[in-house]
Each structure stands twice: as C-alpha cells, then as structure tokens.
Symmetry: C2
Subunit: 424 residues, 2 copies
C-alpha cells in the first residue's frame, strides 16, 4: 500500500468511513440534500464556470478536438439543465429499504430480503464534468458513497463541482465525505485505484473502450463492464418494410456515436431486393456509409457511389460509433441468429418481423442485455426503460444487466425475525 498515493488512500478510507452514515440516511434527508445540490448548481455558478473556462482554454491550447471541447464545456444553461436533472433524482423512488420475497416460514420465522447500499462506488471517467454531479447524486440517492476520479482535462471543473456538491451536503446535514474527488491527475492513480478492493465495492469505468478494457482486466474489485455495443438489426422475410426502413434509419442515424446505435444490418434474402434499396436511400440522405457483403453489394449495385463499399472481415462485430453500417444478406433466420451469436457483444439486438414464431425464437435464443422485436435498439437506456436514471449500461451477466438505475446500485440483506427459534 506504500505505493498508493496518499491522497487516493486518504480519500478511499474517508469514503469507506462514510458508508454507515450514508446507509442510514432517510429518504427525506437524501432528497433534501439533492435539492440543495440542485439549488447550488443554479445559484453558485460563478466559480464552476470560471474553473471550466480555465480547463477549456488549456484544452484548446493543447489542441483538443471541437467534439471533445464541446463535451468539456459548461455554460450557465447547461448547469441549470443539470440542476433540473438532479431534481428528477429526488423524485425517483428510494431503493434502499425496499423489501422483497417476504414470507413467514412454517417454523414462524418472518424472513425477507431488504435492499441496502453497496457501499463505495468508484468511478473513473473522462472529459465530461457533468459526470461528477450525476454520479454523486445517484450514489447519494442509493445510499452509496462516491469515490470519483475524473480526467485531467476537466480537473478544475470537477473540483469546483465536487466542492459545490460537498458544500450542499454539509448544508443539508449530510457528511460531505459522501463525495470524494481525487484531485491528483497522475496517470498512475488509475492503476492504484484498481487495487483498492478493500475500500471500493463496485467500480464503474465511464469512458472509451481502452479505459473499460483496462479496468475490466486489472481491477481487483467487481466492475461494471459495458458501454461497448455491437448492435445488430435483422430484417426478417416477413418484416413490415416501411416500419423496417424507419427503424433501421432511427437505429443508425438518430445518434450514431452511442453504444446502442445500429452497427450491422442483416436482411433476409427474400426481402433484400425490396428493402435494401429503400434503406440505402434513407441512409444516403443522412450520409451513412454502407459496408456491404457481396450479396448486398450486388443488390445495391454501383449506382449508390461511394456510400456503398465492400465490407471487409473487420466490419463484422465492429462498433462503428459513426455513420457507418455493415450490411449482410442472410438466407434464413438461423443464419441471422448465428451471425449475431458470433459477432454480437451482448448489448442490444433487434428483429423486425411479423412472424410470431420468429419473434418468439429471437427473444428466446439471442443472448444479449436487451433483445427487441420491432423497435429501434436506441431504446436501450435507463430513462427509456423506465428506470428514471442510469449509471451505466452493463453487459455483465452477474448482478445487473443492461441499463443500471438506482436499484442496481444496491445489494440486499436477509432479515429474519423470530421468537426463539432454534434449528433442529
């Protein structure tokens, strides 16, 4: 432990030390604190905006791309919008204390499972400073302590936001130790954080595939693996063509940079000659580049110009995160299923079909966090699924799968109330 930077270790210990107080907070106390955080975001913007201006200038001089600069930027409007999001969390049900599977056993023992916080949630994230507030508030509502490690490029903004959150906690009578931001930006701290299984109950990496992979491979504590979605949409022989085109368009185009966007379109050979040109036409208007197998290519022909190119083996199973889609024609439902089994990442998969048996088989046999019939994979999202908020999208099978809301940040304990029972 001597190699772990002092700041990290001190804050990890402070986080662990705050877990018991956090676990006991009433819903009212948590909601009052959340409201004060929202108020602070509206009324104490000066220091945050000034810190963000410094981060932004430094990043610009370092040559950060416009897209990343935009993610880094905070404005008064953005802070006010975030305050509104924070208030929504106050309105969500508190998962802590929920009981389930309650029963009275034949011997009279009253037994139930009761939800409890996990403890300390560690988060390693990149340029967006709003994650600092998001995770703090979701952890607070679920009774967990947040140990945050943001990116170097947003460190001043993160520190100002964490200070604002901690100030609001103190004002609400909640220990400010509930939110810990590690301010050292030494890259080695990430590696050191991965060894702190004694202090961190669950680690959530929020960032690109390199970060997720590093954390998944090296962390000594449980990790939410997710955020990587190789998503297929299969247009079956019986699909409603008009709807299929609209869904394929939505899944690819509505927000191509996210994990639940379409990556590979599979089309049944029976309808490919009709549906592929329609999809190509719709996608061409949005600037989608199609990487086609030879059968799709022969249907679409050369007339579509540079937007239609031959696929390479690398295109199958690739997460494009851009206006690019791989396209293949398949001869059967089973061929589509095998393709998805071989190349999918277990995130979100869809079939578009009017065939009842095909729909049922797809739901049964595709092994992914979210399996859709006749809808866009873009719906895989905590808010869209009715969870109210989302900490991450998990492609783990253990604990929580798919969008993780507040409840997914809890464990449970067994509560057993007796009147003298002993075991025979």
């Amino acid at each position: 432990m001597t190699t772990v930077a002092n700041e990290l270790l001190t804050k990890a210990q402070a986080a662990r030390g705050a877990t018991r107080e956090l676990a006991r907070l009433s819903t009212d106390a948590k909601n009052r604190a959340i409201e004060l955080i929202a108020l602070a975001l509206e009324s104490q913007q000066g220091s945050v905006l000034e810190a963000n201006r410094q981060d932004y200038e430094a990043a610009r001089q370092d040559g950060m791309s416009e897209a990343l600069l935009d993610r880094l930027l905070l404005t008064s409007e953005r802070l006010t919008a975030q305050a509104a999001d924070v208030r929504k969390v106050a309105g969500l049900p508190d998962p802590v204390g929920e009981s389930f599977d309650a029963q009275t056993l034949p011997n009279g023992l009253r037994i139930a499972r009761r939800r409890v916080p996990l403890g300390v949630i560690g988060t390693i994230y990149e340029s967006r400073p709003n994650v600092t507030v998001d995770i703090s508030v979701l952890c607070l509502k679920s009774g967990n302590v947040a140990l945050l490690r943001g990116g170097k490029e947003a460190i001043r903004s993160n520190a100002a936001l964490a200070g604002l959150v901690r100030g609001a906690l103190a004002k609400a009578g909640v220990t400010p130790e509930a939110v810990q931001l590690v301010e050292s930006t030494d890259r080695a701290l990430v590696d050191q954080m991965l060894t702190l299984s004694q202090y961190i109950d669950l680690l959530i990496p929020r960032g690109g595939p390199a970060l997720v992979k590093l954390v998944a491979e090296r962390a000594t504590m449980p990790v939410v693996t997710g955020g990587i979605g190789v998503c297929h949409t299969f247009i079956d022989a019986s699909a409603n063509i008009e709807r299929a085109v609209a869904i394929a368009y939505n899944a690819k185009v509505q927000r191509p940079t996210v994990c639940n966007a379409l990556d590979t379109l599979l089309v049944h050979a029976k309808v490919a000659p009709e549906v592929l040109p329609k999809v190509a036409l719709a996608w061409a208007e949005a600037g989608v580049e199609m990487h086609c197998d030879h059968r799709a290519l022969s249907i679409l022909g050369p007339s579509h110009g540079t937007a239609v190119v031959p696929a390479t083996e690398d295109d199958w199973g690739k997460e494009f995160l851009s206006l690019v889609a791989a396209v293949a024609v398949v001869d059967s439902f089973d061929e589509a299923l095998e393709h998805i089994h071989k190349y999918g990442s277990g995130h979100s998969e869809a079939i578009l079909t009017e065939d009842y048996s095909a729909a049922m088989r797809f739901l049964d046999e595709v092994d992914a966090a979210a399996v859709f019939v006749n809808a866009s994979t873009r719906f895989t999202d905590g808010a869209q699924f009715g969870l109210g908020a989302e900490v991450a999208i998990s492609t783990n099978k253990l604990h929580a799968r798919g969008p993780m809301g507040l409840r997914e940040l809890t464990s449970y304990k067994w509560i057993i109330m007796g009147d003298g029972q002993v075991r025979e």
Copy 2:
C-alpha cells in the same frame, strides 16, 4: 493459453459450446433428466461404490483423518438418500424464463426482464464426492453447464458419479456435455482454471478458507466468496434469558463445524451476571470451551475449570468451526454493534432482545448477509430460508448475498416488444 492443460481447455470449450442448448431446455426436459439421474443413483450403484472403495482405501493409507474419511465415504444408503435430494430439485420451480418488472411503457413498448442462465458455472471443491451430483443437478435445473474440478482424493468417485450423470443426460436426450468433470488431478489445473474467464461465467469454490482465498484473489472471472462466517450473537439487556440460553446453545452446539455456527457471544453487562453462568452450564455439558474477556471471566470465576479460559486478541473475529466460543461483556447496544462491525465477516449476526427499538436498529445497522432477531444463526441456509436448495452461501454484495438457490444462478435479459417504435 498454451500452458493450460489440454483436458481442461477441451472441457471448458465443450462446456461453453453446450450453453445454448442448456438455456433452451424446457422445464419438462430438465425434470425428466433429473429423474433419470435419481434413478441411476439408485440402480447403478455398483461402479460408484467400487470407485469410492478405491478412493477410500487410498486415502486411508495416506493417513486421512476419520472425519475426512467419513466425508469421502459413499454407501448404498447415502447414494439412495442423494437420489431423494436430486428428486427434490425436480420439484423446485424453474427460475429460467421467469419474467419480472413487466410493464407497458407510455410509447407502447412492452418491456420485461426475463431470467436466463448464467452460462458455465465452474466449481472447485474438495473431498465430498456428493458435490459432483449436487452441483450438476442444480446447474441443470437452472439451465447452466457445470464445469467441475474435484479433489484428488475423490477422483475415482467423482469420475464414476459424473459418468453416471452424463449417462442419464444422454438417456434423457440432453447433451452430456452439460456436465464436465476435469479428471486430471494436477494441482496446477486450479490455477489454470482461474484464468479461463472466456469460458467460465461464475466460479464457486467449495472448500476451506485457503481455497476460497486463493480463488477470490486470483480468479479472472466473477467468484462467489463465501463460506467463511464469523458469527456473533448479542444477548441484549432485555433478552428473554431462557430463550437466549437455548439460542446460544443451538447456535454453538447443534453443528459447530459449519460457517453459520456461533463464534462470539456478546452479553450486555446488565444481564451478564445472570445469563453467563447459565450459558456456561449448558455449553459445559456439550464440551464447549469459552475464551472469555476479563469481565466475562470475573463473572464466571475459576469454578468452571478448563472450559473457561482468558481470551486473546486473536479470538475476536475468529471462525472456530469447533466447540470453542469467544465471550465478551459489553456495556451497551452500541458497543456490541461496534464489535460486530469491527470483527464480523458479514455472514450471520443475531441479537436476542425484547426491546423493539434495539431489534429494529440491529436489523437496520448490522451489515451482513443475514441479520437475525431472536433466532439461531444456524438458520442461514438455502433450504431453511425456503430456497429449496443451496449452491453456496455468498458474503459478496454483488449479484447474490447469503444462501444462493437456483434463482441466484441466473442472470436476466431485457425483452422489448414493439410495433415500430423509434426513438425521438
């Protein structure tokens, strides 16, 4: 991967390859196979008993203790009793396919979470050959593939039992690849198994603390950490003395070698002079040795002879697994709580009290898999808790906590049925 023994790798791959068939098996098909396994245990005992005789003789010549020899021994009666246990699993509800949180969203999407098997469950276990059948049957019922690695001392018995199970599977029309027993007893195989995260979804170590610790520290896949219980029972100032003595007796004596047995007895100072001599008297009859703090010692005095000795610092937080208990007198509820917080292993903790507020606070504030009021910690058990069967007792907070039954061997997927919905 070149260092992984060929047998292990081949069987791990075969296990992975069988997961899709297992996930799709109907409850009827699984129950038929389970019935055939039970029948085989009753009607094909010869080869199993002969293999067990060889293991037993070899172990005896190696100087194995009587207690371990008894765990290794199979008899016709034991096999017939196991057949009855196997049949009980056929009678348990099938968790696979259960839906929960089903709802229709405002946009018309019908959404639910549906339980699915985890995939491949790896188990590393020690001398008891009955684990081979137990885990095989529980995995089968939950749609999982079992990859088993038993101890060297039981290898012939395990191989005979796995052969019997696989034969029954084949007869039932279920792929025998659903149960894989690694027959090489090379010690290095355990280390190699811990690296196979690509093939094993969850690893369950069933054995002593050394095995559990090794697996928890080194495994690259999720692990059920459990089986280690440092269990406290706190006799509060308001406890019903007669019941408290009976519960303390049961928790320590009824089966002292298991993880949910009492390790430390905490007694409120107000009732210690009355209750401690009664507990000591009851325990003395059963041969319990009491390791007492100085206050308990001064109450009990020297009259109890060698059964009452001074505690050392090592006694607090120790899992005795024998007829030994640590005993301390505390001045308050809070002191008991702090003791449990400091020394407990998060397994099973009990308060004996007639004070409503003390009972509620204990349930709220003790962080353990199972928290009891006025009952023996010996109840922490899958069958006792109404789960029907138990794969392990988890002290993890992620995924499953406490006794793990069939449902705890599943994950879930989100099922979304639409009629053309796209995201706006």
